[in-house]
Amino acid sequence: MLAELVQFLFAGLTAGAIYALVGLGFGLIYNASHVINFAQGEFVMLGGMTTVFAAAAGLPLAAAVAVAILVTVAAGLALEMVAVPTRNASVVTLIIITIGASISYRGAAQAFFDKQFHTLPSFSGEDPIDFLGAAILPQTLWVLGITVLIVIALQLFFHRTLLGKAVLATSHNRLAARLVGINVQLVLLLSFGLSAALGAIAGVLITPITSTNFEVGIMLGLKGFCAAILGGLGSGVGAVVGGLLVGLIEAFGAGYISSEYKDAMAFGIILLVLFFMPSGLFGKRTTERV
Protein backbone atom coordinates (compact mmCIF):
# COMPACT_ATOMS: atom_id res chain seq x y z
CA MET A 1 0.00 0.00 0.00
CA LEU A 2 2.58 2.51 1.15
CA ALA A 3 5.04 1.33 -1.50
CA GLU A 4 2.40 1.91 -4.17
CA LEU A 5 1.59 5.34 -2.84
CA VAL A 6 5.25 6.35 -2.78
CA GLN A 7 5.72 4.97 -6.29
CA PHE A 8 2.83 7.09 -7.62
CA LEU A 9 4.03 10.08 -5.63
CA PHE A 10 7.45 10.00 -7.26
CA ALA A 11 6.01 9.40 -10.71
CA GLY A 12 3.76 12.42 -10.19
CA LEU A 13 6.51 14.63 -8.83
CA THR A 14 8.83 13.74 -11.72
CA ALA A 15 6.30 14.53 -14.42
CA GLY A 16 5.16 17.52 -12.36
CA ALA A 17 8.68 18.93 -12.16
CA ILE A 18 8.93 18.84 -15.95
CA TYR A 19 5.51 20.51 -16.32
CA ALA A 20 6.64 23.10 -13.79
CA LEU A 21 9.73 23.92 -15.86
CA VAL A 22 7.60 24.28 -18.99
CA GLY A 23 5.04 26.31 -17.03
CA LEU A 24 7.79 28.62 -15.74
CA GLY A 25 8.87 29.08 -19.35
CA PHE A 26 5.33 30.11 -20.30
CA GLY A 27 5.29 32.57 -17.42
CA LEU A 28 8.67 34.14 -18.24
CA ILE A 29 7.64 34.90 -21.81
CA TYR A 30 4.13 35.97 -20.82
CA ASN A 31 5.40 38.40 -18.20
CA ALA A 32 7.87 40.05 -20.54
CA SER A 33 5.76 40.19 -23.70
CA HIS A 34 2.15 39.12 -22.97
CA VAL A 35 2.62 36.41 -25.58
CA ILE A 36 1.41 32.91 -24.75
CA ASN A 37 4.06 30.83 -26.44
CA PHE A 38 2.45 27.67 -27.78
CA ALA A 39 5.91 26.63 -29.02
CA GLN A 40 7.07 26.17 -25.42
CA GLY A 41 6.77 22.38 -25.63
CA GLU A 42 8.97 22.37 -28.73
CA PHE A 43 11.83 23.79 -26.64
CA VAL A 44 11.62 20.61 -24.56
CA MET A 45 11.63 18.51 -27.73
CA LEU A 46 14.55 20.46 -29.24
CA GLY A 47 16.56 20.09 -26.03
CA GLY A 48 16.11 16.32 -25.94
CA MET A 49 16.48 15.66 -29.67
CA THR A 50 19.54 17.89 -30.16
CA THR A 51 21.30 16.24 -27.22
CA VAL A 52 20.57 12.81 -28.71
CA PHE A 53 21.94 13.73 -32.12
CA ALA A 54 24.91 15.69 -30.79
CA ALA A 55 25.84 12.71 -28.59
CA ALA A 56 25.39 10.34 -31.53
CA ALA A 57 27.78 12.55 -33.52
CA GLY A 58 30.43 11.73 -30.95
CA LEU A 59 30.23 14.57 -28.43
CA PRO A 60 30.48 13.67 -24.73
CA LEU A 61 27.11 13.98 -22.95
CA ALA A 62 27.93 17.23 -21.16
CA ALA A 63 29.03 18.90 -24.40
CA ALA A 64 25.98 17.55 -26.21
CA VAL A 65 23.75 19.07 -23.53
CA ALA A 66 25.53 22.40 -23.89
CA VAL A 67 25.03 22.33 -27.67
CA ALA A 68 21.35 21.44 -27.20
CA ILE A 69 20.78 24.35 -24.82
CA LEU A 70 22.52 26.73 -27.23
CA VAL A 71 20.46 25.52 -30.20
CA THR A 72 17.22 25.81 -28.23
CA VAL A 73 18.09 29.27 -26.91
CA ALA A 74 18.80 30.33 -30.49
CA ALA A 75 15.33 29.04 -31.45
CA GLY A 76 13.85 31.04 -28.58
CA LEU A 77 15.65 34.25 -29.56
CA ALA A 78 14.57 33.80 -33.18
CA LEU A 79 10.97 33.51 -32.01
CA GLU A 80 11.29 36.71 -30.00
CA MET A 81 12.61 38.61 -32.99
CA VAL A 82 9.82 37.34 -35.21
CA ALA A 83 6.80 37.31 -32.91
CA VAL A 84 7.16 40.25 -30.57
CA PRO A 85 7.55 43.06 -33.13
CA THR A 86 4.07 42.21 -34.43
CA ARG A 87 2.41 45.18 -32.77
CA ASN A 88 -1.34 45.70 -32.77
CA ALA A 89 -1.72 41.96 -33.15
CA SER A 90 -4.59 40.50 -31.16
CA VAL A 91 -4.08 37.74 -28.61
CA VAL A 92 -5.41 35.20 -31.09
CA THR A 93 -3.05 36.36 -33.86
CA LEU A 94 -0.10 36.02 -31.48
CA ILE A 95 -1.29 32.55 -30.48
CA ILE A 96 -1.42 31.55 -34.16
CA ILE A 97 2.08 32.92 -34.77
CA THR A 98 3.50 30.82 -31.93
CA ILE A 99 1.56 27.79 -33.16
CA GLY A 100 3.13 28.42 -36.58
CA ALA A 101 6.50 28.50 -34.85
CA SER A 102 5.78 25.22 -33.08
CA ILE A 103 4.82 23.57 -36.38
CA SER A 104 8.04 24.93 -37.91
CA TYR A 105 10.23 23.61 -35.08
CA ARG A 106 8.51 20.25 -35.29
CA GLY A 107 8.92 20.24 -39.07
CA ALA A 108 12.58 21.20 -38.75
CA ALA A 109 13.23 18.42 -36.23
CA GLN A 110 11.50 15.94 -38.49
CA ALA A 111 13.52 17.09 -41.50
CA PHE A 112 16.96 17.54 -39.92
CA PHE A 113 16.79 14.76 -37.30
CA ASP A 114 14.29 11.96 -37.91
CA LYS A 115 10.92 10.56 -36.84
CA GLN A 116 12.23 7.78 -34.57
CA PHE A 117 12.04 7.55 -30.81
CA HIS A 118 15.37 8.11 -29.09
CA THR A 119 16.60 7.89 -25.55
CA LEU A 120 19.63 9.03 -23.59
CA PRO A 121 21.58 7.13 -20.95
CA SER A 122 20.57 8.02 -17.38
CA PHE A 123 22.98 10.42 -15.73
CA SER A 124 23.97 7.93 -13.03
CA GLY A 125 22.99 4.38 -13.85
CA GLU A 126 19.71 2.55 -14.24
CA ASP A 127 19.60 0.62 -10.96
CA PRO A 128 16.45 1.57 -9.03
CA ILE A 129 16.83 2.77 -5.48
CA ASP A 130 14.56 1.16 -2.90
CA PHE A 131 12.67 3.80 -0.92
CA LEU A 132 9.87 2.71 1.47
CA GLY A 133 9.29 -0.28 -0.78
CA ALA A 134 9.03 1.76 -3.97
CA ALA A 135 11.59 1.49 -6.76
CA ILE A 136 12.87 4.95 -7.60
CA LEU A 137 14.97 5.52 -10.72
CA PRO A 138 18.11 7.56 -10.06
CA GLN A 139 17.14 9.82 -12.98
CA THR A 140 14.02 10.78 -11.00
CA LEU A 141 16.25 12.27 -8.34
CA TRP A 142 18.17 14.19 -11.00
CA VAL A 143 14.92 15.63 -12.36
CA LEU A 144 13.71 16.70 -8.92
CA GLY A 145 17.10 17.96 -7.76
CA ILE A 146 17.84 20.05 -10.81
CA THR A 147 14.32 21.47 -10.84
CA VAL A 148 14.73 22.59 -7.23
CA LEU A 149 18.10 24.16 -8.09
CA ILE A 150 16.58 25.99 -11.06
CA VAL A 151 13.71 27.33 -8.99
CA ILE A 152 16.15 28.58 -6.34
CA ALA A 153 18.41 30.11 -8.99
CA LEU A 154 15.46 31.90 -10.63
CA GLN A 155 14.35 33.18 -7.24
CA LEU A 156 17.82 34.60 -6.57
CA PHE A 157 18.05 36.02 -10.07
CA PHE A 158 14.75 37.88 -9.84
CA HIS A 159 15.15 39.21 -6.34
CA ARG A 160 18.91 39.64 -5.87
CA THR A 161 20.24 40.84 -9.21
CA LEU A 162 19.72 44.14 -10.96
CA LEU A 163 18.98 42.41 -14.27
CA GLY A 164 16.39 40.16 -12.65
CA LYS A 165 14.69 43.14 -11.05
CA ALA A 166 14.69 44.85 -14.42
CA VAL A 167 12.82 41.87 -15.87
CA LEU A 168 10.27 42.04 -13.05
CA ALA A 169 9.86 45.78 -13.50
CA THR A 170 9.26 45.33 -17.22
CA SER A 171 6.63 42.70 -16.57
CA HIS A 172 4.75 45.08 -14.28
CA ASN A 173 4.87 48.12 -16.51
CA ARG A 174 6.81 48.17 -19.74
CA LEU A 175 6.51 51.91 -20.33
CA ALA A 176 7.63 52.80 -16.82
CA ALA A 177 10.54 50.38 -17.12
CA ARG A 178 11.63 52.06 -20.34
CA LEU A 179 11.34 55.50 -18.71
CA VAL A 180 13.72 54.55 -15.89
CA GLY A 181 16.27 53.41 -18.45
CA ILE A 182 15.71 49.65 -18.60
CA ASN A 183 16.63 48.17 -21.99
CA VAL A 184 13.30 46.51 -22.70
CA GLN A 185 14.54 44.79 -25.85
CA LEU A 186 17.28 43.14 -23.81
CA VAL A 187 14.75 42.03 -21.21
CA LEU A 188 12.58 40.49 -23.93
CA LEU A 189 15.50 38.61 -25.47
CA LEU A 190 16.60 37.47 -22.05
CA SER A 191 13.12 36.18 -21.17
CA PHE A 192 12.74 34.23 -24.40
CA GLY A 193 16.28 32.86 -24.12
CA LEU A 194 15.86 31.87 -20.49
CA SER A 195 12.51 30.30 -21.21
CA ALA A 196 13.99 28.27 -24.08
CA ALA A 197 16.88 27.19 -21.86
CA LEU A 198 14.45 25.98 -19.17
CA GLY A 199 12.61 23.95 -21.82
CA ALA A 200 15.85 22.47 -23.16
CA ILE A 201 16.96 21.44 -19.68
CA ALA A 202 13.58 19.82 -19.05
CA GLY A 203 13.97 17.93 -22.33
CA VAL A 204 17.43 16.65 -21.41
CA LEU A 205 16.28 15.61 -17.93
CA ILE A 206 13.21 13.67 -19.00
CA THR A 207 14.55 11.93 -22.12
CA PRO A 208 16.27 9.08 -20.24
CA ILE A 209 12.92 8.25 -18.56
CA THR A 210 10.32 8.79 -21.29
CA SER A 211 12.48 8.91 -24.47
CA THR A 212 11.85 11.57 -27.09
CA ASN A 213 10.85 12.13 -30.70
CA PHE A 214 9.87 15.10 -32.82
CA GLU A 215 6.27 15.08 -31.55
CA VAL A 216 6.74 14.95 -27.75
CA GLY A 217 6.59 18.74 -27.52
CA ILE A 218 2.86 18.95 -28.23
CA MET A 219 1.63 17.19 -25.10
CA LEU A 220 4.41 18.59 -22.89
CA GLY A 221 3.58 22.08 -24.09
CA LEU A 222 -0.11 21.61 -23.32
CA LYS A 223 0.65 20.25 -19.86
CA GLY A 224 2.98 23.16 -19.21
CA PHE A 225 0.22 25.54 -20.30
CA CYS A 226 -2.08 23.73 -17.86
CA ALA A 227 0.48 24.25 -15.11
CA ALA A 228 0.86 27.95 -15.89
CA ILE A 229 -2.90 28.56 -16.07
CA LEU A 230 -3.75 26.42 -13.04
CA GLY A 231 -1.23 28.34 -10.96
CA GLY A 232 -2.24 31.69 -12.45
CA LEU A 233 -0.51 33.18 -15.48
CA GLY A 234 2.72 34.97 -14.72
CA SER A 235 3.07 33.66 -11.18
CA GLY A 236 6.32 31.72 -10.65
CA VAL A 237 5.08 30.01 -7.50
CA GLY A 238 1.85 29.27 -9.37
CA ALA A 239 3.66 27.56 -12.24
CA VAL A 240 5.63 25.30 -9.87
CA VAL A 241 2.60 24.41 -7.75
CA GLY A 242 0.45 24.04 -10.88
CA GLY A 243 3.00 21.78 -12.55
CA LEU A 244 3.35 19.52 -9.52
CA LEU A 245 -0.44 19.35 -9.08
CA VAL A 246 -0.99 18.36 -12.73
CA GLY A 247 1.74 15.70 -12.40
CA LEU A 248 0.30 14.33 -9.15
CA ILE A 249 -3.30 14.29 -10.39
CA GLU A 250 -2.16 12.31 -13.43
CA ALA A 251 -0.05 9.86 -11.48
CA PHE A 252 -2.62 9.16 -8.76
CA GLY A 253 -5.49 9.19 -11.26
CA ALA A 254 -3.67 6.69 -13.44
CA GLY A 255 -2.68 4.54 -10.46
CA TYR A 256 -5.92 4.45 -8.51
CA ILE A 257 -8.68 5.20 -10.99
CA SER A 258 -7.95 4.68 -14.69
CA SER A 259 -4.78 5.03 -16.70
CA GLU A 260 -6.74 5.83 -19.89
CA TYR A 261 -8.41 8.77 -18.20
CA LYS A 262 -5.37 10.25 -16.45
CA ASP A 263 -5.10 13.17 -18.90
CA ALA A 264 -8.86 13.72 -18.83
CA MET A 265 -8.74 13.96 -15.04
CA ALA A 266 -5.99 16.56 -15.18
CA PHE A 267 -7.96 18.66 -17.67
CA GLY A 268 -11.20 18.13 -15.73
CA ILE A 269 -9.70 19.39 -12.50
CA ILE A 270 -8.25 22.44 -14.26
CA LEU A 271 -11.72 23.22 -15.61
CA LEU A 272 -13.20 22.93 -12.13
CA VAL A 273 -10.53 25.17 -10.62
CA LEU A 274 -11.09 27.79 -13.32
CA PHE A 275 -14.86 27.73 -12.78
CA PHE A 276 -14.34 28.72 -9.16
CA MET A 277 -11.11 30.70 -9.49
CA PRO A 278 -11.17 32.30 -12.94
CA SER A 279 -7.56 33.53 -12.65
CA GLY A 280 -6.03 30.33 -11.34
CA LEU A 281 -4.72 29.52 -7.87
CA PHE A 282 -2.18 32.34 -7.53
CA GLY A 283 -3.29 34.68 -10.33
CA LYS A 284 -3.95 38.33 -9.67
CA ARG A 285 -7.56 38.87 -8.69
CA THR A 286 -8.42 41.92 -10.68
CA THR A 287 -11.59 43.92 -10.51
CA GLU A 288 -12.44 45.27 -13.92
CA ARG A 289 -11.88 49.02 -13.85
CA VAL A 290 -14.40 50.91 -15.88
Binding site: I96, A264, L271, P278
Partner: protein, 324 residues
Amino acid sequence: MLKVLASPRGGGLLVLIVLIALLPLGFQNNFHYDVAIRVGFNAIVVVGLNLLIGYAGQISLGHAGFLALGAYASAILTGSHDWPPVLAMLTGAVGVGLLAFVVARPVLRLKGHYLAMATLGMGMIIAIVLNTESQLTGGPDGMSVWVSFGVAGLEANTPRQWYWLVGALLVVWVWLALNLIDSPFGRALKAVHGSEVAAEVVGVDTTSVKVTVFVVSAVVASLVGSLSAHYISFISPQEASFFHSIELVIMAVLGGMASIYGSLVGAAILTVLPQVLTAFEDFEHLVFGLVMMAVMIFMPKGIVPSLGLWLAGRARRPGGEAAP
Protein backbone atom coordinates in the same frame (compact mmCIF):
# COMPACT_ATOMS: atom_id res chain seq x y z
CA MET B 1 -13.45 40.89 -57.32
CA LEU B 2 -11.42 41.19 -54.14
CA LYS B 3 -13.07 44.47 -53.36
CA VAL B 4 -16.49 42.87 -53.56
CA LEU B 5 -15.30 40.04 -51.35
CA ALA B 6 -13.91 42.48 -48.82
CA SER B 7 -17.09 44.53 -48.58
CA PRO B 8 -19.46 43.11 -45.96
CA ARG B 9 -22.55 42.30 -48.02
CA GLY B 10 -21.93 43.69 -51.49
CA GLY B 11 -22.25 41.22 -54.29
CA GLY B 12 -20.16 38.75 -52.34
CA LEU B 13 -22.87 36.15 -52.09
CA LEU B 14 -23.46 36.31 -55.83
CA VAL B 15 -19.75 35.91 -56.48
CA LEU B 16 -19.75 32.88 -54.20
CA ILE B 17 -22.69 31.29 -56.02
CA VAL B 18 -21.08 31.85 -59.42
CA LEU B 19 -17.78 30.51 -58.15
CA ILE B 20 -19.37 27.34 -56.82
CA ALA B 21 -21.36 26.88 -60.04
CA LEU B 22 -18.35 27.36 -62.34
CA LEU B 23 -15.62 25.57 -60.35
CA PRO B 24 -16.53 22.05 -61.59
CA LEU B 25 -15.70 23.19 -65.15
CA GLY B 26 -12.08 23.19 -64.07
CA PHE B 27 -12.21 19.84 -62.25
CA GLN B 28 -10.43 17.03 -64.02
CA ASN B 29 -10.91 14.19 -61.58
CA ASN B 30 -12.54 13.06 -58.36
CA PHE B 31 -9.57 14.28 -56.36
CA HIS B 32 -10.42 17.86 -57.32
CA TYR B 33 -14.01 17.28 -56.23
CA ASP B 34 -12.75 15.78 -53.00
CA VAL B 35 -10.59 18.80 -52.16
CA ALA B 36 -13.46 21.18 -52.98
CA ILE B 37 -15.88 19.23 -50.78
CA ARG B 38 -13.43 19.33 -47.87
CA VAL B 39 -12.99 23.07 -48.39
CA GLY B 40 -16.77 23.40 -48.20
CA PHE B 41 -17.07 21.39 -44.98
CA ASN B 42 -14.29 23.37 -43.34
CA ALA B 43 -15.73 26.67 -44.57
CA ILE B 44 -19.12 25.94 -42.98
CA VAL B 45 -17.52 25.14 -39.61
CA VAL B 46 -15.19 28.13 -39.78
CA VAL B 47 -17.98 30.62 -40.56
CA GLY B 48 -19.66 29.44 -37.36
CA LEU B 49 -16.41 29.59 -35.43
CA ASN B 50 -15.69 33.08 -36.75
CA LEU B 51 -19.00 34.30 -35.31
CA LEU B 52 -17.67 33.17 -31.93
CA ILE B 53 -13.98 34.07 -32.26
CA GLY B 54 -13.86 36.89 -34.79
CA TYR B 55 -17.10 38.71 -34.05
CA ALA B 56 -17.72 38.01 -30.36
CA GLY B 57 -14.00 37.80 -29.52
CA GLN B 58 -14.31 34.56 -27.54
CA ILE B 59 -11.57 32.08 -28.44
CA SER B 60 -12.24 28.36 -28.53
CA LEU B 61 -9.51 25.75 -28.89
CA GLY B 62 -11.95 22.86 -28.54
CA HIS B 63 -14.49 23.00 -31.34
CA ALA B 64 -13.13 19.90 -33.06
CA GLY B 65 -14.59 18.05 -30.08
CA PHE B 66 -18.11 19.14 -31.04
CA LEU B 67 -17.48 18.21 -34.66
CA ALA B 68 -16.28 14.75 -33.65
CA LEU B 69 -19.28 14.20 -31.36
CA GLY B 70 -21.59 14.92 -34.30
CA ALA B 71 -19.62 12.52 -36.47
CA TYR B 72 -19.73 9.74 -33.87
CA ALA B 73 -23.42 10.29 -33.17
CA SER B 74 -24.15 9.73 -36.87
CA ALA B 75 -21.79 6.78 -37.17
CA ILE B 76 -23.12 4.99 -34.11
CA LEU B 77 -26.83 5.72 -34.59
CA THR B 78 -26.90 4.84 -38.30
CA GLY B 79 -24.46 1.94 -37.98
CA SER B 80 -25.44 0.04 -34.85
CA HIS B 81 -29.02 1.27 -34.47
CA ASP B 82 -30.18 1.61 -38.10
CA TRP B 83 -31.44 5.17 -37.63
CA PRO B 84 -32.09 7.23 -40.76
CA PRO B 85 -29.05 9.51 -41.38
CA VAL B 86 -30.93 12.79 -41.04
CA LEU B 87 -32.49 11.79 -37.74
CA ALA B 88 -29.10 10.64 -36.47
CA MET B 89 -27.52 13.90 -37.57
CA LEU B 90 -30.20 16.03 -35.88
CA THR B 91 -30.05 13.96 -32.70
CA GLY B 92 -26.30 14.47 -32.62
CA ALA B 93 -26.75 18.20 -33.15
CA VAL B 94 -29.32 18.47 -30.34
CA GLY B 95 -27.02 16.51 -28.01
CA VAL B 96 -24.04 18.69 -28.87
CA GLY B 97 -26.18 21.81 -28.50
CA LEU B 98 -27.21 20.73 -25.00
CA LEU B 99 -23.64 19.91 -24.02
CA ALA B 100 -22.42 23.25 -25.37
CA PHE B 101 -25.23 25.04 -23.53
CA VAL B 102 -24.31 23.40 -20.23
CA VAL B 103 -20.59 24.16 -20.45
CA ALA B 104 -20.98 27.59 -22.06
CA ARG B 105 -22.00 29.50 -18.94
CA PRO B 106 -19.06 28.64 -16.69
CA VAL B 107 -16.57 28.50 -19.58
CA LEU B 108 -17.49 31.86 -21.10
CA ARG B 109 -17.12 33.63 -17.76
CA LEU B 110 -13.40 33.17 -18.37
CA LYS B 111 -11.40 35.58 -20.45
CA GLY B 112 -8.41 35.48 -22.79
CA HIS B 113 -5.89 32.76 -22.12
CA TYR B 114 -8.00 31.21 -19.37
CA LEU B 115 -10.85 30.77 -21.85
CA ALA B 116 -8.38 29.23 -24.31
CA MET B 117 -7.28 26.76 -21.62
CA ALA B 118 -10.83 25.82 -20.62
CA THR B 119 -12.01 25.17 -24.19
CA LEU B 120 -8.80 23.30 -24.94
CA GLY B 121 -9.38 21.10 -21.88
CA MET B 122 -12.98 20.48 -22.90
CA GLY B 123 -11.91 19.37 -26.39
CA MET B 124 -9.18 17.15 -24.94
CA ILE B 125 -11.64 15.44 -22.61
CA ILE B 126 -13.96 14.69 -25.55
CA ALA B 127 -11.03 13.28 -27.56
CA ILE B 128 -9.92 11.11 -24.65
CA VAL B 129 -13.44 9.74 -24.12
CA LEU B 130 -13.74 8.89 -27.84
CA ASN B 131 -10.33 7.19 -27.71
CA THR B 132 -11.10 5.20 -24.61
CA GLU B 133 -14.71 4.05 -24.90
CA SER B 134 -13.71 1.60 -27.63
CA GLN B 135 -16.79 -0.61 -27.25
CA LEU B 136 -18.90 2.25 -28.47
CA THR B 137 -16.44 4.15 -30.67
CA GLY B 138 -13.95 1.59 -31.92
CA GLY B 139 -11.22 3.35 -29.93
CA PRO B 140 -8.12 4.77 -31.61
CA ASP B 141 -8.74 2.65 -34.74
CA GLY B 142 -11.91 4.59 -35.44
CA MET B 143 -14.97 3.14 -37.14
CA SER B 144 -16.43 2.83 -40.61
CA VAL B 145 -19.66 4.50 -41.64
CA TRP B 146 -21.45 2.32 -44.17
CA VAL B 147 -24.76 4.13 -44.56
CA SER B 148 -25.04 6.73 -47.34
CA PHE B 149 -26.38 10.12 -46.44
CA GLY B 150 -29.78 10.89 -47.87
CA VAL B 151 -33.22 12.37 -47.31
CA ALA B 152 -36.51 11.01 -48.62
CA GLY B 153 -34.99 8.68 -51.20
CA LEU B 154 -32.43 11.23 -52.45
CA GLU B 155 -28.96 9.99 -51.65
CA ALA B 156 -25.55 11.60 -51.90
CA ASN B 157 -23.14 8.99 -53.21
CA THR B 158 -20.94 10.39 -55.96
CA PRO B 159 -18.43 13.20 -55.43
CA ARG B 160 -20.53 15.31 -57.79
CA GLN B 161 -23.66 14.92 -55.62
CA TRP B 162 -21.70 15.70 -52.49
CA TYR B 163 -20.22 18.77 -54.16
CA TRP B 164 -23.63 20.26 -54.91
CA LEU B 165 -25.00 19.34 -51.48
CA VAL B 166 -22.08 20.95 -49.64
CA GLY B 167 -22.07 23.94 -52.02
CA ALA B 168 -25.76 24.60 -51.42
CA LEU B 169 -25.39 24.30 -47.65
CA LEU B 170 -22.43 26.67 -47.71
CA VAL B 171 -24.33 29.31 -49.68
CA VAL B 172 -27.32 29.12 -47.34
CA TRP B 173 -25.17 29.30 -44.23
CA VAL B 174 -23.13 32.23 -45.57
CA TRP B 175 -26.37 34.05 -46.38
CA LEU B 176 -27.72 33.42 -42.87
CA ALA B 177 -24.45 34.48 -41.26
CA LEU B 178 -24.31 37.70 -43.30
CA ASN B 179 -27.88 38.46 -42.22
CA LEU B 180 -27.04 37.79 -38.61
CA ILE B 181 -24.04 40.09 -38.37
CA ASP B 182 -26.08 42.87 -39.95
CA SER B 183 -28.86 42.55 -37.35
CA PRO B 184 -29.23 43.87 -33.79
CA PHE B 185 -27.99 40.50 -32.55
CA GLY B 186 -24.90 40.89 -34.73
CA ARG B 187 -24.25 44.34 -33.30
CA ALA B 188 -24.50 42.90 -29.80
CA LEU B 189 -22.06 40.18 -30.86
CA LYS B 190 -19.49 42.72 -32.01
CA ALA B 191 -20.12 44.82 -28.91
CA VAL B 192 -19.27 41.85 -26.67
CA HIS B 193 -15.87 41.97 -28.37
CA GLY B 194 -15.58 45.76 -28.30
CA SER B 195 -16.69 46.45 -24.74
CA GLU B 196 -18.74 44.00 -22.74
CA VAL B 197 -19.63 46.52 -20.06
CA ALA B 198 -20.74 49.10 -22.62
CA ALA B 199 -23.08 46.54 -24.15
CA GLU B 200 -24.45 45.59 -20.73
CA VAL B 201 -25.33 49.12 -19.67
CA VAL B 202 -27.50 49.63 -22.73
CA GLY B 203 -29.42 46.45 -22.05
CA VAL B 204 -27.51 43.70 -23.86
CA ASP B 205 -27.55 40.43 -21.93
CA THR B 206 -23.95 39.67 -22.88
CA THR B 207 -23.93 36.26 -21.21
CA SER B 208 -26.89 35.13 -23.26
CA VAL B 209 -25.33 36.50 -26.46
CA LYS B 210 -22.09 34.62 -25.80
CA VAL B 211 -23.87 31.41 -24.85
CA THR B 212 -26.07 31.59 -27.97
CA VAL B 213 -23.19 32.03 -30.39
CA PHE B 214 -21.15 29.34 -28.62
CA VAL B 215 -24.02 26.86 -28.92
CA VAL B 216 -24.68 27.81 -32.56
CA SER B 217 -21.04 27.37 -33.57
CA ALA B 218 -20.95 24.01 -31.77
CA VAL B 219 -24.14 22.80 -33.45
CA VAL B 220 -22.84 23.82 -36.89
CA ALA B 221 -19.62 21.92 -36.20
CA SER B 222 -21.65 18.90 -35.13
CA LEU B 223 -23.79 18.96 -38.30
CA VAL B 224 -20.68 19.15 -40.49
CA GLY B 225 -19.14 16.33 -38.45
CA SER B 226 -22.17 14.15 -39.22
CA LEU B 227 -22.12 14.96 -42.93
CA SER B 228 -18.38 14.44 -43.30
CA ALA B 229 -18.63 11.09 -41.48
CA HIS B 230 -21.03 9.89 -44.17
CA TYR B 231 -18.93 11.44 -46.92
CA ILE B 232 -15.57 9.98 -45.84
CA SER B 233 -17.21 6.74 -44.60
CA PHE B 234 -14.73 6.60 -41.77
CA ILE B 235 -14.15 8.43 -38.49
CA SER B 236 -11.45 8.33 -35.84
CA PRO B 237 -10.75 10.22 -32.60
CA GLN B 238 -8.30 12.33 -34.62
CA GLU B 239 -11.38 14.38 -35.57
CA ALA B 240 -11.50 15.63 -31.97
CA SER B 241 -7.77 16.18 -31.60
CA PHE B 242 -6.23 19.40 -30.35
CA PHE B 243 -4.57 19.86 -33.72
CA HIS B 244 -7.89 19.70 -35.56
CA SER B 245 -9.33 22.38 -33.24
CA ILE B 246 -6.26 24.51 -33.86
CA GLU B 247 -6.56 23.98 -37.60
CA LEU B 248 -10.11 25.37 -37.54
CA VAL B 249 -9.04 28.41 -35.52
CA ILE B 250 -6.11 29.01 -37.87
CA MET B 251 -8.51 29.00 -40.83
CA ALA B 252 -10.65 31.64 -39.14
CA VAL B 253 -7.73 33.84 -38.13
CA LEU B 254 -5.69 33.46 -41.31
CA GLY B 255 -8.63 34.27 -43.57
CA GLY B 256 -9.67 37.17 -41.40
CA MET B 257 -11.27 37.61 -38.01
CA ALA B 258 -14.76 39.08 -38.12
CA SER B 259 -14.97 38.42 -41.85
CA ILE B 260 -17.38 35.84 -43.25
CA TYR B 261 -15.64 35.74 -46.61
CA GLY B 262 -12.33 35.60 -44.79
CA SER B 263 -13.50 32.31 -43.27
CA LEU B 264 -14.05 30.91 -46.76
CA VAL B 265 -10.63 32.06 -47.94
CA GLY B 266 -8.98 30.70 -44.80
CA ALA B 267 -10.71 27.34 -45.16
CA ALA B 268 -9.75 27.12 -48.83
CA ILE B 269 -6.10 28.01 -48.26
CA LEU B 270 -5.59 25.72 -45.31
CA THR B 271 -7.27 22.81 -47.04
CA VAL B 272 -5.42 23.22 -50.34
CA LEU B 273 -2.02 24.33 -49.02
CA PRO B 274 -1.00 20.99 -47.44
CA GLN B 275 -1.81 19.25 -50.75
CA VAL B 276 0.49 21.67 -52.57
CA LEU B 277 3.22 21.48 -49.93
CA THR B 278 3.61 17.72 -50.26
CA ALA B 279 6.00 18.70 -53.08
CA PHE B 280 8.42 19.79 -50.36
CA GLU B 281 8.44 16.23 -48.98
CA ASP B 282 10.42 16.18 -45.72
CA PHE B 283 10.24 19.96 -45.40
CA GLU B 284 6.46 20.08 -45.80
CA HIS B 285 5.67 20.90 -42.15
CA LEU B 286 8.55 23.34 -41.80
CA VAL B 287 7.36 25.30 -44.84
CA PHE B 288 3.74 25.13 -43.68
CA GLY B 289 4.65 26.59 -40.29
CA LEU B 290 6.76 29.34 -41.85
CA VAL B 291 4.00 30.29 -44.30
CA MET B 292 1.53 30.53 -41.44
CA MET B 293 3.83 32.76 -39.40
CA ALA B 294 4.60 34.96 -42.38
CA VAL B 295 0.92 35.53 -43.18
CA MET B 296 0.09 36.42 -39.59
CA ILE B 297 3.11 38.71 -39.21
CA PHE B 298 2.50 40.63 -42.41
CA MET B 299 -1.30 40.54 -42.24
CA PRO B 300 -2.14 40.42 -38.52
CA LYS B 301 -5.80 41.06 -39.26
CA GLY B 302 -5.98 38.12 -41.67
CA ILE B 303 -5.93 37.93 -45.44
CA VAL B 304 -9.31 39.33 -46.50
CA PRO B 305 -9.47 42.34 -44.11
CA SER B 306 -5.82 43.21 -44.86
CA LEU B 307 -6.40 43.06 -48.61
CA GLY B 308 -9.56 45.10 -48.17
CA LEU B 309 -7.68 47.80 -46.25
CA TRP B 310 -4.90 47.74 -48.83
CA LEU B 311 -7.34 48.17 -51.70
CA ALA B 312 -9.19 50.94 -49.89
CA GLY B 313 -5.88 52.71 -49.26
CA ARG B 314 -4.88 52.40 -52.91
CA ALA B 315 -8.23 53.75 -54.06
CA ARG B 316 -7.89 56.80 -51.84
CA ARG B 317 -4.34 57.63 -52.89
CA PRO B 318 -4.04 60.20 -55.71
CA GLY B 319 -3.30 58.52 -58.99
CA GLY B 320 -4.94 55.30 -57.85
CA GLU B 321 -8.28 54.24 -59.21
CA ALA B 322 -11.18 56.17 -57.69
CA ALA B 323 -13.36 54.42 -55.14
CA PRO B 324 -16.78 53.55 -56.55
